[in-house]
């Protein structure tokens, strides 16, 4: 049986999603996970009479978008993670959420719920006189999100790192069921506050697909402008934080200030520094007139000069390069194996970027799409991917804003209400600054969400951090962690 093809931001009828045999399904998924241009985007369970349907959404870069396939299982089924590592977290989520038991799962630990034992039973443990545990968190020194990290160390060397999250679990996916309603957009924008624009865009595209709303090209461009501003602000913040962690003070301070400038530009664009309440299903809350486009454009060019200076200082400093090079390496094989996405995957040489892979029309007129990759997969590579993406984002914004000065963009809003189609499924992907956000929605017979799954890039990337630390000095954990800068709340939802 062939999987169903569906474009990015398109909808299809749920009953058209094919059901195949377990052996076929398994072979199909294995083939996907072994191909660079393809990857598993989402994997979830849908109740189906007494049984369940396991639905897999695969991405096909360069193809038309997504491929969907499903299989019927009972409450206990043979785990797929044993041979397909990228599925391990999805299977744990299904076990936790729907109560299915993946038999033979190599690491069936909770994902978003806390472990019942608090004294560390259930964590991987090595034996030996020289081995010691270092437990960090969930409460950290500094105002950051909670997560528990457990290192198995021999002296200063880390043998393994186990990451236990779930402290930020708010039950967002459960709250989304029965929507969309007036709360939905707010839930989206706060699912991961640092990626509000990316998540809201993914949601808006999904609703537009389900409701058959066509959005004008200028509105799509306006959303992309907001998205790139979000990317720049966060990349700048990350590079500054990395400088802070290696105690390279000038860049740390400058980037902190410059990040604020980009957030203020976002506020100039839409009234909120984090782009909240700007992107609506069916359009955007505000347009962009020539005066504001011109103001942001000048501002952008002015700040870019400061940014270039601060980053040149950082990337030209031998002590900084020495510190970042060969730290926290993740090989290309490992990144592929784990199904990693975003800048972290690109730093390991895996060319995955939803902006390029799905032929996004909004970038095409302004800047040639460019999937930035590095070879080494170390902290320096992850920093350099960000540096080079900043260039691309500025190029795009420069062209898009200059065009907006010539031809102002009107606000487009769908005031008549949105009416998602019944019994349908839709998938959308947006490349946020951490990687691709995948949203999948399944509607019931009245057009409300029956199942809504958000796959944050962090969900697919946290394991990479664990692998980066293997054999690494424990004192390098903070800069490794910062070089990924994954989301806790986006993971925990």
């Amino acid at each position: 049986m062939l999987p169903m093809k569906i474009g990015n931001g398109m909808a299809a009828l749920w009953r058209e999603v094919p059901v195949c045999e377990m052996a076929e399904f398994r072979a199909w998924l294995r083939e996907i996970s072994e191909t660079e241009r393809r990857r598993i985007a989402a994997f979830f369970a849908v109740p189906d009479d007494e049984q369940f349907r396991l639905v897999a959404v695969a991405e096909d870069a360069g193809g038309c978008g997504f491929a969907l396939c499903s299989v019927r299982v009972c409450r206990v089924y043979p785990a797929l993670s044993g041979e397909i590592a990228a599925l391990q977290k999805f299977e744990r989520l299904i076990a936790e959420r729907d109560g299915l038991v993946p038999e033979g799962h190599p690491y069936l630990q909770p994902v978003r719920r806390l472990r019942e034992d608090e004294d560390g039973r259930g964590f991987l443990a090595e034996r030996g006189a020289a081995v010691h545990d270092v437990a960090v968190g969930p409460v950290h020194a500094g105002v950051i999100e909670p997560g528990h990290f457990r290192f198995e160390c021999v002296g200063e060397k880390v043998h393994s790192l186990e990451i236990a999250l779930g402290y930020q679990h708010r039950g967002i996916e459960a709250m989304l069921a029965g929507g969309p309603d007036e709360k939905t957009l707010h839930l989206m924008e706060t699912a991961d506050g640092s990626s509000s624009i990316a998540v809201a865009t993914a949601y808006a595209r999904l609703i537009e697909a389900l409701s058959g709303i066509a959005v004008p090209a200028e509105t799509v461009t306006l959303r992309a402008i907001a998205l790139e501003l979000e990317r720049i602000a966060n990349h700048v913040g990350d590079l500054g934080a990395l400088a802070g962690d290696v105690a390279f003070l000038p860049t740390a301070s400058f980037c902190g200030r410059i990040r604020g400038e980009y957030l203020n530009m976002t506020a100039e664009l839409c009234g909120n520094r984090f782009g909240r309440n700007f992107i609506l299903p069916g359009g955007t809350r505000f347009g962009l007139d020539a005066a504001r486009a011109g103001k942001i454009l000048d501002w952008l060019r002015r700040v870019k000069r400061d940014l270039d200076g601060a980053l040149k200082l950082f990337f030209d400093s031998p002590t900084v390069l020495d510190r970042l090079e060969n730290t926290g390496r993740v090989s290309r094989e490992t990144a592929l194996h784990l199904g990693a996405v975003g800048p972290a995957a690109r730093a390991s040489g895996v060319a995955r970027d939803a902006r390029c892979d799905f032929g996004w029309s909004e970038y095409a007129p302004y800047a040639a799409c460019e999937c930035v990759t590095e070879e080494t997969g170390d902290v320096l590579a992850r920093a350099r991917v960000r540096l080079r993406e900043l260039e691309f984002s500025h190029r795009f914004l420069d062209a898009a804003l200059a065009e907006a000065v010539r031809r102002p963009i009107e606000a487009v809003r769908c005031d008549s209400g949105i009416f998602p189609a019944a019994d349908s499924i839709a998938v959308s992907a947006v490349e946020g600054w951490r990687g691709e956000h995948i949203h999948v929605a399944l509607t019931d017979s009245r057009g409300y969400f029956e199942v809504y799954r958000m796959v944050d890039p962090s969900l697919r990337n946290w394991e990479m951090l664990g692998m980066a630390l293997r054999g690494e000095e424990i004192s390098n954990f903070p800069i490794c962690n910062k070089s990924f800068n994954l989301s806790y709340c986006g993971h925990d939802l």
Binding site: V246, A247, S253, T319, D322, E473, S475, F477
Partner: protein
Amino acid sequence: MANPTVIWLSSFLLSLILAPLLPGIVNKVKAFFAGRRGPNLFQLYFDLAKLLRKEGVFSATAGGFLQVAPPVSLGCLLLAALLLPHGLVRSPLGFGGDAVLFFYLLGMARFITVLGALDTGSSFEGMGASREMQFSALAEGAIFGVIGFIAVFTGRAGFTMLPADGGGEWWSVHAVSLLLAAAAFFVVLMAENCRVPFDDPETHLELTMIHEAMILDYGGPDLALILYGASLKLWMYAMVLMMLVLPWSICGTWLGMGCTLGGVLLTAVVVGAVESSMARYRFLKVPRMLVGALAVALLGIFFRLVFEGGIQ
């Protein structure tokens, strides 16, 4: 000519009073390089005043060392301070091998701090203690390289003989060897006082800390003692550095005292500038730098003996 004892005593008291100014200067310089305004120059004085008004809280699982460590450690530092030739005047307590005693009193202060850290049973403090011991053991080599240099100059492993050895031609004759010794000692100063690139006094990341990790459990007056001790230690290292670089012809005068004080404050400015211009080393590189400092100190001795005319 002023009474040397008066100079020594006033200089000693000034050292005790002005020591908390050094971290303030370092932070101001760092803020300048980072384009920020930075904390108040006298911030540490305010912090000390605040901490002394609080009361200490100790973990119930820790033993006695945790509480004993701060006062004992500060006591060792004060004792060491008595041995220094303040204002380039030999200390009334000085003797032939006082440099050795000086550095071992500092070592004693460290030892008791490490015991206090291990006493908490925290894995962070244990890691910090282990790193502190490892790096200080290596720094000791460089320190003794410098003491050896002093011994070659003066014939004794002590601070006592330095000022007595006057003469205006130090810098014209011995510039190379003095510079080498001073450079080696500056590296030790940075390492022993937990400055970037060896340690990062600003970090909040427990896993990367060295010295800071050991004092995580302290608060209130005990933390005040530790912070004051740290600033005094930086002051004393800067003074030893001044002894190496200042022309000894001015010793025993008010000018000598003024130059020492000014030099110490200037050292803080240099420390701040160095900290602002480089990233922190990874741990594996720290031992290399410290052994490198030893090599530089030995090179200084070599130059002194071979090119600058033997032992006097």
